[in-house]
């Protein structure tokens, strides 16, 4: 029933087809893969199912509009889509506070238009390395990373999920994050 996971190259091809030809079939494939996953992350960050679906809609419409700005030298498609969804989430919080301007302090990944082959290899290599690194995190490190990403009050939730006293959670978080970064940035 579920289609095999698309490869990183598949996704780049689809995005390219959207950018060059407004290819709705290619957009459909991107939607089928990303929209349910974006909604899943948004629910994890505390949004209702309806809000999560709305963010996934807005993100995918933005993917359609911004497809030509995607730069494979900078990041994989999943990382790029993640940053758009993240900004939509921040924007939702802003709308809730009834303010007027967009997310000024943190853009999507800065995009350059021309990618050199070397750059592209670098971005692919980094994505692969981060993916391998994520698989080697301990359960505690994975929990700290996940809650730092998605919890509004990460220290309190880390304390709860790991059954740590609040007094020690900051030092444990610091320790775990230092290890996580060392793993993420370790050379292959």
């Amino acid at each position: 029933m579920s289609a095999p996971a698309p490869s990183a190259d598949d996704m780049k091809q689809w995005l390219k087809a959207v950018a060059a030809e407004q290819d709705r079939a290619a957009f459909g494939r991107l939607f089928q893969y990303f929209a349910p996953r974006i909604a899943s992350l948004m629910e994890r960050s505390g949004l209702s199912a309806a809000e999560a679906e709305e963010i996934s809609q807005e993100t995918m419409v933005a993917v359609w509009r911004k497809a030509a700005l995607y730069d494979p030298a900078q990041a994989g498609v999943s990382t790029w889509v993640f940053t758009i969804a993240r900004n939509m989430r921040i924007d939702l919080a802003r709308k809730a506070s009834r303010a007027s301007a967009g997310v000024a302090a943190l853009g999507e990944l800065p995009m350059r238009l021309e990618a050199s082959v070397e750059d592209m290899a670098l971005a692919n290599e980094r994505d692969a390395r981060v993916r391998r690194a994520m698989a080697t995190l301990s359960p505690e490190q994975a929990t700290v990373l996940r809650l730092s990403f998605f919890a509004e009050k990460p220290h309190a939730e880390i304390a709860r999920e790991l059954s740590l006293p609040l007094g020690t959670v900051k030092s444990r978080t610091r320790l775990a994050m230092a290890k996580i970064r060392a793993i993420l940035e370790r050379e292959p």
Partner: protein, 210 residues
């Protein structure tokens, strides 16, 4: 030479989108001048991409895709103009924000407040303190994020110069003193309230009102 950087925890929260608006502006201003931290952020964003790939797909409503197709032709509500540079002397993205006038509080001590349209209640200020001048001894009810824009200061934790980003927990109380060789300008965001102590602090607190 930058010696102090945002914590991994803050960069992860920035990558995930959970860092508050005030601290986000301070850390983003640091990033604009720190390629090393931009690389660190990229690693965390790539981790976000992996989490997206590995997320258990949620059930969307049956018409979700049709609804998205119907929205492709809509005018882009987010077609925001490039941020205007309001303060060419300041680094991005700080230079695009509305900043109130400098206000004098005591000798050699000025502050101005930033307006964050994305979070009107955020406590973000710029401080300008004269050479050799101490800042009132203070603590905070939440974390304090400071980016040194020019000059330098020292406190019990060390010496901090232009480009440095300093994160302090709410437990920390400190009394920064600006180094004698020139004035120091900082961008500071507070997650909670400032807690000033001493008579000068009690004098200033109501004036700053944060």
């Amino acid at each position: 030479m930058i010696n102090h950087h945002p914590s991994d925890f803050s960069l992860a929260r920035l990558a995930g989108g959970t860092l508050g608006a005030g601290p986000r502006l301070v850390v983003a201003t640091h990033l604009s001048g720190c390629p090393q931290c931009r690389r660190r952020l990229t690693s965390f964003e790539a981790a976000g991409g992996v989490m997206l790939d590995e997320a258990e797909p949620a059930r969307l409503s049956a018409e979700a895709f049709q609804r998205a197709l119907g929205r492709l032709g809509d005018a882009d509500p987010r077609a925001e103009p490039q941020p205007r540079v309001l303060h060419p002397d300041l680094p991005p993205p700080l230079n695009a924000y509305e900043i109130g006038p400098w206000r004098q509080v005591g000798r050699g001590f000025q502050w101005r407040r930033l307006r964050l349209p994305e979070s009107p209640g955020a406590n973000v200020i710029m401080l300008r303190v004269a050479a050799g001048q101490p800042v009132p001894h203070h603590g905070h009810s939440g974390a304090e994020y400071t980016q040194v824009l020019s000059g330098s200061y020292s406190d019990a934790l060390g010496r901090f110069g232009a480009g440095d980003c300093i994160e302090l927990d709410e437990e920390v109380r400190h009394q920064p003193v600006v180094d004698p060789d020139g004035e120091c300008v900082c961008l500071t965001a507070l997650e909670g309230k400032l807690r000033l102590s001493g008579w000068i602090g009690r004098l200033i607190q109501p004036l700053i009102g944060i």
